[in-house]
């Protein structure tokens, strides 16, 4: 296992002002006993509402924060005591923070990173070449980082995190604030990186499309605890997400009509559009039954939305 945590915990002490001198000490547990194992080459989606403890977990895995209790090991190293050794083996992109030198042209940041990580020039050049073509960097290589657009900067950050050939790549909200095209570029790149199988990727995000496009495995964290760990399908199964059939009709939906294996979720447009959710029956069976009882004009089948499941997960605290 390339990443392993057991009973990982982080407490923060918060002082609340009560009066001129009186302070109240309160302990906030940001991460509360997280057990997680990630195998080499895996792409793990790590999601949760704001303040759930995602970033804190990542910061403990990367050696930025010292855990309050529990164990964490990444690449066989203990992050805080072996921070500098670990830093050579991991790459990190924090969406809201830059690893680049603000006032320097991008190429100079890249060559500085080569010295910081002591990467052999040939390896560095090969990796840079690959990122340049996959992420389309050539247009802004000579631009100072502070003048890059967010999308350009994120592509640059990804490159910067990979130039030393890390075994694990940690991404904290890499698509936050990006436009559709940049999101696609980032996702496409991560997908390809994952396909090569050399790099383990841990990704936190609020954009569930990232998860659907990229991740087989999904870990959901809330209030510092893992509430789901499994595939996206397992998540749907566990929370009984339903597929839906939406039918447009030529005559209004008869009141009180029911079909076996499906339930009526909504009737709209003066009864001319009906949404059925499937409980047990297949879409084919429901459509066949529908065709017998009402005149059908058009049909569509909706896959369950991960957004719905996750929203239910977050609200069902």
């Amino acid at each position: 296992m390339i990443i392993q945590t057991s009973a990982l915990r982080k407490d923060f002490t918060v002082w609340r002002k009560l009066g001129r001198l009186r302070r109240e000490r309160r302990v906030v547990t940001a991460v509360d006993g997280v057990d997680l194992t990630v195998a080499e080459g895996e792409l793990l989606g790590y999601i949760g509402p704001n303040g759930a403890g995602k970033s804190t977990t990542l910061k403990m895995m990367t050696g930025v924060l010292t855990p309050s209790a529990g164990e964490v090991s990444v690449c066989g190293l203990t992050p805080v005591p072996q921070r500098t050794r670990l830093a050579r083996r991991i790459g990190v992109v924090f969406g809201q923070r830059s690893q680049l030198w603000w006032d320097l042209p991008l190429t100079e940041s890249f060559s500085l990173l080569r010295h910081v990580y002591r990467v052999p020039p040939a390896d560095h050049a090969a990796r840079l070449r690959r990122c340049r073509s996959l992420l389309d960097l050539d247009a802004f290589l000579d631009t100072p980082v502070r003048q890059l657009s967010l999308g350009q900067r994120m592509r640059a950050e990804l490159t910067a995190a990979l130039l030393h050939g890390p075994r694990v790549l940690f991404l904290d909200e890499p698509t936050i604030g990006l436009d559709v095209l940049s999101k696609q570029a980032v996702r496409g790149f991560l997908g390809e990186l994952h396909a090569t199988g050399d790099t383990t990727i841990v990704l936190t995000t609020h954009d569930l499309a990232d998860i659907e496009k990229l991740c087989r495995r999904l870990v959901v964290i809330d209030h510092g605890r893992v509430v789901h760990d499994g595939t996206v399908e397992q998540l749907h199964a566990a929370y009984r997400s339903k597929r839906r059939v939406v039918a447009d009709l030529d005559t209004a939906w008869p009141d009180g009509l029911t079909l076996p294996g499906a339930s009526v979720e909504r009737v709209e447009a003066d009864g001319l559009r009906v949404t059925l959710s499937l409980d047990g029956a297949t879409a084919g069976e429901v459509v066949a039954q529908l065709a017998q009882v009402v005149p059908l004009r058009d049909l569509s089948v909706l896959e369950p939305e991960i957004e719905d499941v996750v929203a239910r997960l977050y609200t069902g605290r």
Binding site: F12, N50, G51, K54, S55, T56, K59, T62, G63, V64, L65, T66, V80, R83, T84, R85, A87, R88, V92, F94, G95, Q96, R97, S98, Q99, W101, W102, D103, L104, E108, L112, H115, V116, Y117, R118, D172, E173, T204
Partner: protein, 264 residues
């Protein structure tokens, strides 16, 4: 391949080259300030023949040791005070994610070339002080002449790092830190004998500022301490400086472990 710290430093200097005018301005200001510091001593001696039992040349030697040691420390590690900016904004994350010493990076990334100018001014003052002061020359004194300002620099450096480290717990600690760095320099520039009571005990002995300039100056002048500090201790500044540096390093390590970062 040259040290990665060197490359960080060059990058920092390159980022700064855009601000040439302020570089010149800063140099002018700091020259004026240094001259004012020296002038203060002269003004004091126009009123009094002696200060805390010491003559003008003797006090000038203490001023000289500080005038060289402090800017040396300020040049090398003074920018550690910028730590609180890194801690407040969570920028310290990026520092910890690189495979280099956190303190080393901080110093290299913020090294300010402007401060080099003050080192040169300090050197001039120190050389003048060596000429003016009635030094009891001996081989040991010759060694101490070189070591005293260096020890002072190491000691002030430790104070800079120690005071800045407080920012890991208390971000608004800037003024508190200045009390020890600039306050310490002002204390160390004068004979310990001019201060009294608790203040003297705390700053001179508990915090060790007497070892910065006062005690080594006594050794160079061949005088015993009127306050009764044993003669051999006058030669111990380098050891005290190393001890202070060790303490500061330990404190720094503890601070880094307490770094809290900020929200995502």
């Amino acid at each position: 391949m040259a040290s990665p710290y060197w490359h960080l430093l060059v990058a920092q200097v390159r980022s700064q080259t855009q601000y040439r005018f302020s570089f010149t301005l800063e140099l002018v200001f700091s020259t004026v300030l240094t001259l004012l510091d020296v002038a203060t001593v002269f003004v004091l001696f126009t009123v009094n023949d002696s200060l805390g039992g010491f003559g003008g040349g003797e006090v000038f030697l203490m001023v000289g040791i500080c005038a060289l040691g402090f800017p040396l420390a300020d040049f090398a590690v003074g920018n550690v005070e910028r730590l609180r900016i890194y801690v407040r904004g969570g920028l310290f994350d990026a520092v910890l994610l690189r495979p280099l010493s956190a303190l080393g990076q901080l110093l290299a990334m913020d090294l300010s070339a402007r401060r080099a100018g003050r080192v040169v001014q300090g050197l001039v003052i120190y050389v003048v002080a060596l000429v003016v002061a009635p030094i009891a020359w001996s081989p040991a004194a010759a060694v101490l002449v070189v070591l005293a300002p260096l020890s002072a620099a190491v000691f002030f450096g430790a104070i800079f790092v120690g005071a800045a480290t407080v920012a890991f717990w208390w971000i608004e600690s800037g003024e508190f830190a200045n009390a020890f760095t600039y306050g310490g320099r002002d204390f160390a520039s004068y004979p310990t004998t001019v201060f009294g009571g608790l203040f003297r005990r705390v700053f001179a002995y508990a915090l060790g500022f007497a070892f910065v300039a006062y005690l080594p100056a006594l050794a160079l002048l061949g005088r015993s301490d009127p306050l009764g500090v044993p003669d051999w201790l006058r030669w111990c500044s380098p050891l005290v400086a190393l001890f202070a540096a060790g303490l500061a390093a330990l404190f720094w390590r503890t601070g880094v472990r307490h770094y809290r970062s900020t929200g995502s």
